[in-house]
């Protein structure tokens, strides 16, 4: 069936993977990474590969590129690209296909561009290799493609080095590089994971548009179901090295036929989920390690519908779902399960009334001084990381701080924790002014009252200290308990609190999974009975199925202790799910603040509106307006005059007299304590339409 190049029939699949198995051979053991994987991508079609980390989706992509490294071997199956078998191709033939017929876009744009080569040289290389184009010809083509991916000032771009561009611009360059040879198949490996949501929205719109323009087929790898819905025609859900369900995107989203797909959807916060009334349902247990996979169905041990003796008897094959559009599932029981049954009722909880004011910030400012110039010196500039930040947080309340990178939310956390001192303003913790007290000078009592849960659980635990020892160390620092025995008992109590087995006290961090590590991080933060906890993106590094469990844990502890939670995040879905009040930041300014309902419904600040429209939602019944922000986030070193958002605002033309260009907008107080920093008139606010509409069912 292997065809010669050039004789490929466009009605045939452009990429056909048949029963692919990939194994990594290490000194210790053989690790099967992908088993019995099949999929077809037709010309012009975009195929999504979804799954949690370690499920083998990236391995499939690299296998298509035949770049599995020294250890990876394709042990069975075929990969047909335009009818030619890639698995048997020689290095020279592969080289001709790579970059010209199949191109790849990667997760980390900064890491995938050569730091010491100019952008233009990196782009021009592709046609020079594959089409033997002249240097000047390929630079001209590069210029055209750079304009095609809508980058401003293409000539300057071509002569820049990668580090001179922003993350979004870098990713556009990587996309341009992939398009230089007009490939037939584009593989996108989590192309937007490292980017901000509004940037992501721009990239996704670009990828879709270019896909249609050039008729490129796409293999889109992501863990984000919402993105898959936005971009893809078909998808393939992977779990632990196997495809578990495949089919048309809308069909799978509305009528999934595999328990894992169902569990995945129940674990992500969709509009309508509520921490009190309709909490998320996390998937019990952990992802199996590749060498510890169970017999039979890999998902069996975590599945609600598991039938012993049947599901764990032997290998399960993909089975076509009749009547579907090439819909197939790897489940023995799919015909027996009642797919329309509502999820088992999770217990609804009472909403807690907010208590007294615990933390109060008044007109807080934080400025940094930086110098420019390659050899130091140059002009000294002032970066205004936080400007006139005022708010208060009450006992038992969750206040979310939302914004994209560079908006000043991390600076704010640093100032609050005492890692930096504020330039001016007041921070009152209970009745104590902690504004100008750095953390070294704060008493153990203050420090233990104000704690932090960090973003990356992998880096925040000491790798050479047992889990129990690390918690006890925190207790010692907080001067908690008067004897070792008391602290030991408290440590075990904390492990109970975060729902970890007590035996974990003796484990080393490397023996724990990501979710378990984050639980240890939470236990440490709550060790001294913290009253205010700053959670800096506590679940963004975790997989979807674990996210729900960790979020619920945080909520439970908060409920029991009446802790005030400052939840810093860029993920609006999770913010909508768990927070009571939301504060939206842009370039160091609070542009909008109010209760969750107020912020997520009109009237919006124009930036909030764009932010909401940018978040992909994994629900085909939800329609949302697409507002793509033009341009880049201005540098905090050189903010625009007047309103900080004026350079990208779509409402700017509706404000008369060029106010936005000249005058910093006042804080407009709306009903119910809702405040917006904008020049728009009350009438214009009242006329705003909601960004997200849920279709009536």
């Amino acid at each position: 069936m292997t065809a010669t190049p050039g004789t490929w029939d466009p009605t045939q699949p452009i990429l056909e993977i048949e029963n692919l198995s990939i194994t990594f051979f290490t000194r210790l053991r053989q690790i099967p990474a992908v088993m019995d994987f099949s999929c077809k991508v037709m010309a012009g079609e975009s195929m999504g590969l979804v799954g949690e980390s370690g499920c083998g989706k990236s391995t499939v992509a690299l296998a298509v590129m035949r770049d599995l490294g020294k250890n990876g071997k394709i042990t069975a199956g075929r990969i047909l690209f335009k009818g030619q078998d890639l698995t048997t191709m020689g290095e020279e033939e592969l080289r001709r296909i790579r970059g010209s017929e199949i191109a790849m876009i990667y997760q980390e744009p900064m890491a995938s561009l050569n730091p010491a080569m100019k952008i233009g040289a990196q782009l021009a290389e592709v046609p020079m290799i594959h089409r033997g184009m002249s240097r000047s010809g390929s630079w001209a083509l590069a210029r055209q493609i750079v304009a095609d991916v809508r980058l401003p000032d293409p000539d300057r771009m071509l002569n820049s080095y990668p580090h001179q561009l922003s993350g979004g611009q870098q990713q556009r360059i990587v996309i341009a590089m992939a398009l230089m040879a007009k490939p037939a198949l584009l593989i996108l490996d989590e192309p937007t994971t490292a980017l901000d949501v509004t940037v992501e929205a721009g990239i996704v719109a670009l990828v879709k548009e270019l896909g249609e323009k050039y008729g490129t087929s796409m293999l889109f790898i992501s863990h984000n179901l919402g993105l898959i819905l936005d971009v893809c025609d078909r998808l393939c859900v992977m779990y632990s090295g196997e495809a578990v369900e495949t089919g048309n995107v809308t069909e799978v989203f509305t009528g999934m036929r595999h328990p894992y797909t169902q569990a995945l959807f129940r674990a992500i916060p969709l509009p309508g989920a509520d921490k009190n009334a309709r909490p998320l349902i996390s998937i019990p247990g952990n992802f199996p390690l590749p060498h510890e996979r169970p017999q039979g169905c890999n998902f069996g041990p975590r599945c609600d519908y598991f039938a012993a003796g049947r599901c764990n008897a032997g290998d399960i094959a993909m089975e076509a779902v009749p009547g579907g559009d090439r819909h197939a599932t790897r489940c023995l029981k799919w015909q027996e399960i009642d797919w329309l049954a509502p999820p088992r009722a999770a217990k609804a909880r009472e909403k807690l009334p907010p208590g007294e004011i615990v933390l109060k910030m008044d007109d807080l400012r934080k400025y940094y001084q930086v110098s420019s110039g390659a050899f130091g010196g140059g002009l000294t500039k002032v970066v205004k990381a936080n400007e006139t930040l005022s708010f208060e947080a009450r006992k038992g309340e969750t206040l979310a701080i939302v914004g994209e990178s560079g908006c000043g939310k991390s600076t704010f956390a640093k100032v609050l924790m005492g890692l930096e001192t504020a330039t001016s303003g007041k921070i009152m913790l209970f009745d104590e002014n902690v504004q100008s007290t750095p953390i070294q000078k704060r008493g153990a009592d203050t420090v233990s009252k104000l704690q932090m849960v960090f973003q990356n659980p992998f880096d925040t635990l000491n790798p050479s200290m047992t889990v129990g020892r690390q918690i006890i160390r925190a207790l010692e620092v907080f001067r908690f308990g008067d004897s070792d025995a008391a602290r030991q008992a408290r440590m075990l109590g904390l492990l109970d609190l975060v729902k970890l087995p007590r035996a974990f006290a003796e484990r080393m961090p490397r023996q724990l999974s990501g979710g378990q590590k984050q639980r240890v991080g939470i236990a440490r933060a709550f060790a001294g009975g913290a009253k205010v906890v700053v959670a800096d993106e506590p679940v963004s590094a975790l997989d979807v199925s674990v996210q729900a469990a960790v979020t619920d844990l945080l909520m439970d502890i908060q409920r029991e202790n009446g802790t005030t939670l400052l939840f810093i995040s860029h993920d609006l879905s999770i913010v909508r799910y768990l927070s009571d009040r939301v504060m939206v930041m842009y370039l160091g300014h609070v542009v909008e603040m109010g209760t969750t309902e107020q912020v997520f419904a009109p009237p919006y600040h124009p930036y909030t509106e764009a932010l909401l429209s940018a978040v992909p939602i994994a629900d085909p019944t939800v329609t949302r307006k697409h507002i793509v922000l033009e341009g880049e986030i201005p540098s905090a070193m050189n903010p625009p005059p007047g309103c900080p958002f004026q350079t990208r605002c779509r409402w700017k033309s509706q404000v008369g007299g060029g106010l936005c260009d000249r005058v910093m907008p006042p804080v407009v107080q709306l009903a119910g304590g809702h405040q917006i920093k904008c020049h728009l008139s009350p009438a214009q606010f009242a006329a705003m339409e909601p960004v997200i509409r849920i279709a009536a069912q």
Binding site: G99, Y106, A111, S112, N114, V126, I129, G373, G377
Partner: protein
């Protein structure tokens, strides 16, 4: 850029000042001066005589004052004796001080008079440096390309046989100090009784008794392969191993970067991946190491020049130290310190040009 160089030069100046003072203080410790007095005047002097000799020759004032005189910021000492003047800035005796400059030190270009060579220090150092710069030049010509090639070859395919053999070679050479490798070279290549020379001579393949010359003295007049190869190799070998290890480490790291994968998956051939994408990034780290080798070369030069009797800077330093030649020793230290600091400055500036991400401040 200009401000940076200016600032660094300022710091450099201070460092030179501090370091020369330390050397000055160490060489002018009382026992050293006593030795000086005895070697200059008479070995059988009593303690009182030594003290008066030192006093009469300007060594009586405090160290800091004498350091100032040596630098040329404090007026040199003068002494009147029977209507004639002698002093720091006077050779012999003069009748009047009118034509004599008040200060004569480093700043005035007066580096002093070498007691060993009976010549002005500046002349001695100038001659020695020109000798050594030839040695250095050849060492660099041999060492840098060889080391980089070895490092890149072994780093581009980590764990391959090429890598293992070259890494093994690099470790052996780094682990062998110059005084060991130099002696081995002489025994193997430049001895009339052992090594390969007798065998070659017997077979009539070489004209003289030895393949290479065991001394580099003749290279001071005319450099040939036969008289210069051994000293150059002795110094270079050590550096080759060191730089090659650095280059290899940096190359293996670069080869595992994502942008190398990007290049590979663009369809760039392996040789082009190495040449165009990996090389420049891989050379950033070794560049600093190569510049750091300059001071280290001075070190090797001392041993090798003594071993091969090549009268360059290292040999002069040894002579000065061995004979308590204080002015020469001081002069050598100034040159060495300036040399080291200048290479550091070049290394920092070059780093910025190699690595577009770096900003110095």
């Amino acid at each position: 850029m200009f401000a940076f160089v200016l600032r660094r030069t300022g710091v450099m100046f201070l460092t030179v000042l501090a370091l020369t003072f330390i050397v000055f203080w160490l060489t002018n410790l009382p026992p050293n001066l006593e030795k000086l007095a005895k070697s200059e005047a008479s070995v059988r002097m009593s303690d009182a005589e030594v003290a008066s000799w030192l006093d009469r020759n300007g060594y009586g004032t405090p160290t800091l004052h004498r350091y100032g005189q040596w630098l040329g910021v404090v007026p040199g000492w003068t002494r009147e004796e029977e209507g004639r003047f002698t002093g720091r800035c006077i050779t012999g005796t003069v009748a009047t001080l009118d034509d004599i400059p008040a200060r004569c030190g480093l700043l005035q270009g007066q580096w002093g008079f070498s007691t060993v060579f009976k010549q002005p220090v500046a002349d001695v150092i100038k001659r020695a440096l020109s000798m050594t710069s030839w040695l250095m030049l050849w060492v660099m010509i041999v060492m840098v390309p060889t080391a980089l090639t070895l490092g890149v070859l072994s780093g581009m395919r980590e764990g391959s046989w090429t890598d293992r053999i070259l890494s093994g070679f690099a470790i052996v050479t780094t682990a062998t100090p110059e005084y060991v490798s130099g002696v081995i070279f002489i025994v193997v290549f430049a001895s009339a009784t052992v090594g390969i020379s007798p065998v070659l001579a017997e077979m009539g393949w070489i004209e003289g008794k030895t393949l290479f010359q065991g001394t580099a003295t003749s290279a001071m007049d005319r450099i040939t392969f036969w008289n210069f190869a051994l000293p150059v190799m002795t110094i270079a070998l050590y550096g080759i191993g060191y730089i090659a290890r650095m280059t290899r480490a940096s190359m293996t790291e670069v080869m595992s970067q994502q942008y190398i994968r990007t290049a590979r998956l663009k369809g760039v051939s392996f040789s082009q991946v190495v040449m165009k994408h990996a090389l420049r990034n891989a050379l950033i780290a070794p560049f600093t190491v190569i510049m750091l080798q300059f001071p280290w070369l001075l070190n090797g030069v001392v041993i090798v020049e003594t071993l091969f009797n090549y009268k360059g800077f290292g040999w002069t330093l040894v002579q000065a130290a061995g004979n308590n030649d204080i002015p020469l020793l001081l002069g050598c230290s100034v040159v060495a310190v300036v040399l080291v600091l200048i290479t550091q400055l070049i290394s920092d500036i070059g780093y910025v040009f190699l690595n577009p991400r770096i900003r110095l401040s």
